[in-house]
């Protein structure tokens, strides 16, 4: 299961976005024709001010938001055009980590992890919680890997923020996804926990060769964990390159002003 990605697999895990546009209200585009190719490896961080469309971009990929126009090519299909069963099957290959963790609060931790398998397990087995043995075993393994082995049968609403996000990451990994989308995974956490969460996400995804696309406010965290940074401003891409190439001038262009940089 933990195969190292070869070149073919890496190519298979890439995302090609072309001319992606999203208007929540007609005539007021939040995304103005974004085109970007995200290779199937490593961590790609998307930085930018609030309200610039980072979340919208990420949510268009797994279609929690429906794009107005454009293409999102992934594993030979255009995600922007899928619906019904095809969309559900594509979503199984895309893990997602949320800012507010979005765990099912009244389910146990292990049940939340097993939610990651719902695309594969028929509903009548879900109803009686008869998940396949290997899924349950994998869930326990992952729980140990994120350091929550003793919390399996605790209810999710009994956990702290950092613990919840670890469960959120483990749930995404449970899908055996070909890409993980993380929408501000650390924004609700304290600075120390934020680093821990990014380390866990980086480690678990890296071990499995799963590319990660992460929206992140914190530029330092982005530079520390990402191999590529995409800066968004005004609904377009204002910077795209390795962390070293990101200068103050770029940051001023992305966020505007400069007082905050001191």
């Amino acid at each position: 299961m933990n195969m190292q990605p070869d070149a073919a697999a890496a190519a298979d895990r890439s995302l090609v976005i072309r001319n992606l546009t999203k208007e929540y209200r007609a005539g007021q585009p939040v995304l103005k024709g974004i085109s970007v190719t995200i290779e199937g490896r490593g961590v790609t961080a998307i930085i930018g001010p609030s309200g610039t469309g980072k979340s919208t971009l990420i949510r268009c990929i797994n279609r929690l938001v429906d794009p107005t126009a454009g293409e999102i090519l992934f594993q030979g299909s255009d995600l922007a055009k899928l619906s019904g069963v095809e969309l559900r099957q594509a979503r199984r290959r895309i893990g997602m980590v949320f800012q507010e963790y979005n765990l099912v609060e009244r389910l146990s931790v292990i049940e939340n992890l097993l939610c990651g398998r719902l695309g594969y397990v028929p509903w009548w087995r879900t109803l009686t919680r008869r998940f396949p043995d290997e899924d349950v075993a994998h869930a326990f393994e992952l729980l140990d890997a994120v350091g929550l082995g003793d919390f399996a049968t605790r209810r999710a609403d009994a956990l702290s923020g950092g613990q919840r996000q670890r469960v959120g990451i483990a749930r995404a990994i449970m899908q055996n996804p070909d890409v993980i989308l993380a929408d501000e995974p650390t924004s609700s956490l304290d600075p120390k926990t934020s680093v821990e969460i990014m380390e866990i996400l980086d480690r678990l995804a890296g071990e499995r060769g799963i590319p990660v696309v992460v929206n992140i406010h914190n530029v330092d965290l982005a530079k520390r964990f990402a191999s590529r940074i995409i800066g968004m401003a005004r609904g377009t891409i204002a910077f795209d390159g390795p962390p070293d190439a990101l200068t103050e001038a770029h940051l001023i262009d992305i966020y505007g002003g400069e007082g905050w940089l001191e």
Partner: protein, 263 residues
């Protein structure tokens, strides 16, 4: 210095609200006049009430009467449980269909229309309809209370579903789960405790209602009660009322315990 002008008014008068209150008072006085409800009429009524109460005491728990009462109560109990169970089973899908956050709006409006229809008439009127439609007896009572349950619980279920956190639903949906799996793993856990609460509440309310459907021919203790009234056996009436009160109180105690299990 003109304080009246410079001081800002913290409590401005709401003339519309005052007018509405006034209108309410005027209408009440008018209605009482039309219905000829006067103090002297009330005093006459109190006199009759005292005579009635005196004739009720002591309650008649004679062995023959007790047998009738127990049989009637058991039938009422059965009507209450059957109608609650059937009503909730039907209300589950209906409540889901009526939830605006999970269903397309034409479906919602259809389901909401049906719920509204079930809620339009008082259970007594529905009981009369079913007694005429399917004949005297417990079946009519059960059907009437199923309708009442469907209307009340269906609406509460729909509202409970509309109040769930969509973030949790979104996360489960994002894993590629089917609609049924999303319901099982993201919706049901969020509403289960409340549904149990509504179910118990409705059982409680159906217990009360089941003592009433018999009055119009729907079976249960109501029939016994009505017969006792007509025969002026007010001591039996009191006995029946005491048994009903005891049953309702007993159920109150039990339901508190059940609620604790589902938190």
């Amino acid at each position: 210095m003109t304080p009246a002008r410079t001081r800002r008014d913290a409590f401005p008068v709401n003339w519309t609200a005052r007018a509405l209150w006034l209108a309410l008072v005027v209408y009440c006085v008018y209605a009482a006049q039309i219905l000829q409800i006067t103090w002297s009429r009330f005093v006459i009524g109190m006199d009759q009430g005292a005579t009635f109460l005196a004739r009720m005491w002591p309650p008649n728990f004679g062995p023959q009467k007790l047998d009738l009462i127990i049989q009637g109560m058991l039938e009422s109990l059965q009507i209450a449980f059957l109608s609650t169970a059937a009503g909730i089973l039907l209300a589950l899908p209906l409540g889901l269909l009526a939830a605006r956050n999970l269903m397309p709006s034409p479906v919602c409006w259809g389901a909401r229309g049906l719920i509204a229809l079930c809620r339009t008439f008082h259970p007594v009127i529905v009981s009369i309809l079913f007694v005429k439609a399917v004949g005297f007896g417990a079946l009519a009572g059960v059907l009437a209370l199923v309708v009442a349950t469907l209307g009340f619980v269906g609406k509460l279920f729909a509202e409970a579903i509309e109040e769930i956190s969509m973030k949790q639903v979104e996360a489960v949906r994002a894993t590629g789960a089917s609609f049924a799996s999303v319901l099982i793993m993201a919706v049901v856990p969020q509403v289960m405790a409340r549904f149990v609460g509504f179910g118990i509440y409705q059982l409680d309310s159906n217990l009360r209602n089941s003592t009433m459907v018999g009055i119009v021919g729907g079976g249960g203790i109501g029939a016994t009660l009505f017969t006792a009234y007509q025969r002026f056996d007010y001591d039996v009436v009191l006995a029946i009322l005491i048994v009903i009160i005891a049953l309702i109180l007993l159920f109150e105690l039990i339901s508190t315990q059940i609620r604790k299990v589902f938190q």
